[in-house]
Amino acid sequence: MGALIVNYFNNLAANYSYLLLYMKQCLLLILWVFLITSRAIAQDQTVSGTVQDENAQPLTGVNVVVKGTTRGTTTDANGAYQLRARSGDVLVFGFVGYQRHEVTLGNQSTLNVRLDPDNQQLQEVVVTALGIKREAKALTYATQSIKPAQLNEVRDANIVNTLQGKIAGAYITQGSGGVGSGSRIVLRGNRSIQGSNNALFVVDGVPINNSTYSQPGGDFGAVAGTDGASNINPDDIADMTILRGASAAALYGSQAANGVVLITTKSGKAGRVSVDLNSGVSFDRPFALPKVQNQYGQGVGGVLDPSKGDSWGAAMTGQSYTNYLGQAATYSAQPNNIRDFFRTAAGFNNSLSVSGGSDKMQTYLSYTNNALQGTVPKNDLVRHTINLRASNQITSKLSTDAKITYISQKIDNKPRTGEENAPVFDMYQIPRNISLDDAKQYETTNNLGVPTPTTWPSTLNSIYQNPYWMLNRTAINEQRDRVIGFLTARYQLTPFLSVQGRANLDKYYDKNEESYSQGTILWANQPGGKFIRQNIITTQKWFDVIFEGKNKISDSFQIDYRAGAILQDSRFERTTSTADGLNLPNRFNLNFGSTLSLGDDFVHSQTQSIFGQATLAFKDAIFIDASLRNDWASTLPAPYSFQYPSIGASAVLSDLFKISGPLSFLKVNGSYAQVGNAASAYLLNTNYSYSQGAGAGFISRDATQAIGNLKPEITKSLEFGIEARFLSNRLGLNLTAYKSNSVNQLLRLNLAPASGFTDQYINAGNIQNQGVELVLNGNAIKNDNFTWDVTFNASLNRNKILRLSDQVKRSTLGSTERSANPIVQEGGSYGDLIAYRWQTNPNTGQYVVSAAGLPVQTTGLEYVGNFNPRYLLGLTNSFNYKGITLRLLVDGRIGGVATSGTEMNLAFSGIPEVTAQHREGGWVLPGVTAAGEQNTTPIRAEQFWQTVSGKRYGWGEFFTYDATNFRVRELSVGYRIPLPKMFIKTAQLSFVARNLFWIYRGSSILDIPGLGKRKMWFDPDVNLGNGNFQGVEYGTLPSNRTVGLNLKLSF
């Protein structure tokens, strides 16, 4: 049957213009098949009763089905149900999160049932692609669910960061844009060079826009933008399921090759009105700051020079001197000047929700307020989220569901990330003897009343400025208003077939402003200062119609199936206005601009799709699943069409065969899927761009050659899994192995510029990811007073670039030749880092040293490591003792490297701790000269570090670290306050903490003779941005340690 449908859809795909006609025919076929296979049933008696949960509270929405038939109903607001059955029938009660309950009916007319919670989530219903709810055991691919409590207790401004360590196979890094910065979640390895590797975020069945509009593509830096996922309010989440592989996500088509994070938000429950309050306060401090020396202050060559920003001066012994401000001062170490620059950032999260309704109508209303500070002073985020959901049962057959979420978010003083005149990087440069009190004297007012920067002993006064000037005289502010809403109508055509139509809108307005006062290095070139305003409107519309049905073919065979059509339309509209120069100094509005320029961006694309999916079940234990989807994408050349299938099977062996012993459940599954990606808009034709310039401006031909025969990218993915439970489900194991190949990659390759184009797009390449994921959970102790649960996840991924193209064997992931460069190279792995290294003698392996006794650089950039972890591990222990709960998450990674451009840059100026050694000279590097003679020339630290770091450009190997690390990621200790019977039903108070401390950190990869290895001081989880340029830390913000309190009240 599955094959028949697939075949039918194959034909159907051949000519889209007859879609509707075909859909009718298809439907006819499906209906006909199922109608003749449905058997007529005599209904003898009426059975009624109530269903309660473990606390004797009524359960609403429980499915009650007569086993082996399609007859069924759901419980109402009071947990009551009624249906017709005959004696001997088996009634099956099923509800998400509860163990399935079966009762064989005798002659009674009342049947009350209490359901036990299913902690193992074994028999549960899982929300899958497009919001389709399916039985977990029927799935032919791996999924993993996260409980909402794990998302809204120990918090982060971006919910994505709270997934860290909890999902097998997920590698999460956060951008360096301060509070609310975008994050990157990669499932099962990187696969796209030009495109995003970020998982798709789906809320209530529909993908939301998760783009980040401003992204550092190199380590000079940028304003790291906010992403779309960070707007999701954890307090509104009812369920989160991660679909790691393409098989699981195939129905999402184009965007799903990277896996999906499926979020279901809360909806109202009939019956009692419940009010929930979740209130949290948290405090952040920087978790990983540069390790600096505190022995030597300003100067060069061991001589104190208060005009210098470098700290190669005399030893600080409390001498009296005249400082750079011309004031009498004491020359002494300021060991905390960097740390004290950062503030303790307070965060307040308050969420109030009201849920309730009748059996005909349920509503959920919530308001959440997040007021969060960043550790960089003045960096604040305020977010309001209002969420209203209304579900209606209009007639017995027609129901509607609607939601509207309004998000208003304001971020003030976002710190610029990267190396070039960004406040944090400026701060790291502070000479070791300068106090923050000195630094705070950052400006004077000139005779025209305009603030002017005070002299500042910068290490490079063309690039770095007093950090307090940057804090107080520049601002990057963002405001976002976002509306996400949907409207769904569902009609039960027959007892076994329903149709659902859905319209979804995700629209946001961003207003981003940057202001730079006159005198700001690099960013304000013109008199008066600079002001930039961007207005961005992002619109994503989604409409779908889905037929869904379920039939019993015979006693052993059952089929469920979906077929539908989707239209998705995305628009991005941006206008950028720049006032470069202000006629009124430091008045940041376009009205005062002396030179105004405008930019206008507009990107529009549309995808139309039809799909079919069917699962054939044999004895409710063997499942065969197939899907086919056809897309028509506006970004492709005519006929715009491409299609991709998926097929899978699973078998619950423990249901098929009698098992005994400790094994209580055993399932195996396998699946194969293809997912297409239609690429971005406007690649088909060569365009000419107008740009402003002298005279009336210019027209130039775009330097990237168009690709008229653009093909969609295809990811082919194969996975096998085994799921086993032992000792009455107390111990569970979930093991998945996968392999995916991404082919027809849209690669942007360099062309000989002499051809008139610097780049061309081609479809080529084959990037392979292979890996294994393991989730173990166990119920170590379970008795009335004490429970101890353990969840462990582990994963490994191996990436291989099997092929790029005939012409090009290497592609870069960002532009830099400064510290290290992430590349993609045939034969290598995605994210190999190449950098300049210390030359070694090819025969003896000894370091090569110059006549001056200094290291000699390799002639080219060489491999120093790969930025991806080799293994990811996470371990959660939860304890529950008489209302006291303790949850501890320890996670980490093994393998991979990260290069610190920050340390490279600072080393030139004598700031890192390691540079304090060998200052006085006499350091002889044990190496050989090019001629092979043993080196005997002594050097000083200053010479050494200035050789291997040219300041802004250096030899990456010296600053590359093994990024292996383990830490206590999350801790929460909760206490359920015992309450007398009153209107507060439950109250739980928790102490929560994130990034508590390191358990292990890797060291520098190079063991420099005379210095040894250094422990990694930075947090490799924080990157410049959340794009594909990863593995290089250069002026990124420190990650944070968070402690806080959380109070949950239910009324």
Binding site: L19, S307, N461, S462, V545, G693, F698, A752, S755
Partner: protein, 518 residues
Amino acid sequence: MKALNNILQKAAVVACLSGSMFWGVSCTANFDEINTNKTKISTIGQSELPYLFAKAQSSSTLSAGNYQIGQNLFSDQYAQYFANIATYFPSDRFVIRMDWIGGPWGVIYTQTVPQLKSIMDNTDPGSAENALASIWWVWTFHRWTDYVGPIPYFKAGEPAQSVPYDSQQVIYDDFFKRLTAAVAVLKTKTSEKPFGSFDLIYGGDVNKWIKFANTLHLRLAMRVSKVDPARAKTEAEAAVAGGTLTTTPDDDALIQRSNKGGDVNGLSIMSPWNEFRMSAAMESALKGYEDPRLPVYFIPAASTNTYEGLRNGLTSTQLTDPANTAATNSRVGPRWDGSTGLETRQNVMATAEAYFLLAEGALNGWTMGGTAKDFYEKGIETSMKQWGVTDAAAIAAYKASANTPIAPNDYLKSPALTNIPVAWGGSEAVQREQIGTQKWLALFPDGFEGWAEYRRTRYPKLYPVANSDNPDIPAGGVLRRIPFLLVEQQTNGAEVQKAVSLLNGPDKVTTPLWWDKN
């Protein structure tokens, strides 16, 4: 069956309703329109050609950041107009950073060449517009062949996976032919204003373009004077007969710059970055000659209020010495101020150069229409006026001056650059050095031309570069060319291999170009 019909009817209604609601009748009919980029132009017509010409002019002269990575970090240093003070830039020590210079190389081939080809393909070969594009083609390409030697030329801008290189000799041959043909066309179009105000140099003034083309012709003829003296003489005399640039500032070719779109003067935008300062060579000559152009070219050092320069090729550690920092050396002149100088017009080719070329031609015995001494002094006078020195007495005194360059008292305690005075000398050898030295001073800050002429003539007698980090060349050696670019080796490798045979030497910085006979 009745029930089934009923169901089907409902299903069909829902499907149709939703279908028409979503897509209307036709589904993908508007896809081509959706996939048309409305912020761009998809077809080019006659009315767009002027914009293309303006882009060609702006791009090949290297505005904004391209000026640094194409010129300032390379030829400006090799001509010793400036010395590097950034500890992280190795090009002053002969390391050719291919990732930087690859940028402007790409700019030329993708932002100048396609524009000029479009114009030449879409206009009558006998039109003034076509002639201007052809002249600009020559100006653009001569700077890059003089950097590298063989370059993709005849097939440049033709979409292909590989593009062949052409030898410098055949490229120069085409230069001469193009300039001759363009001038012939322009002589019949003197009443027209091709491209009008879109011509950012002369505003479409055909007579000036004729002079420009002839002066460029003379420049190129002089360049080949050692490798092909006979051709040089013929080409030079023909160019001079047609009339070269004569007056400043009227004839000077200077291109407009604008804050709009970041199309700014490249030297100005980078001056606040404090990555380069006056060279010791400039200090020695300008101070020694008591040159009135000194305060135009440079600003006194911030910490000493005197004009100070430093030697080219200092190491990172040497650059941290107080004598070699931004504060203790002279920044480029006030017209290139980082905020007020962003729209300062950029030199393309100035009249003074024409007189120095005439002087050298006369010394070669070519028919130049005057004596070497007169042209030499006219060159000095024109350069002074070009840079705003109008005091006739001061100019006269300078011309007659017996001053010689001085020892700059720099970090390396360098000697004086040379010992020749300004006043016209008695021997041909002295006269040639004087022309070379004064032309070098006049060409400032055009490193492209300054370095090319240094390689041809070895004038002025520049300081040896203090250190070399390039194993192919010792400290004090003379850099002869930029090697074939890495981007070309990566994308056009086979053709680059073939091009090596056009070099008459290995693909190194020490291999002289075709016209470089030193």
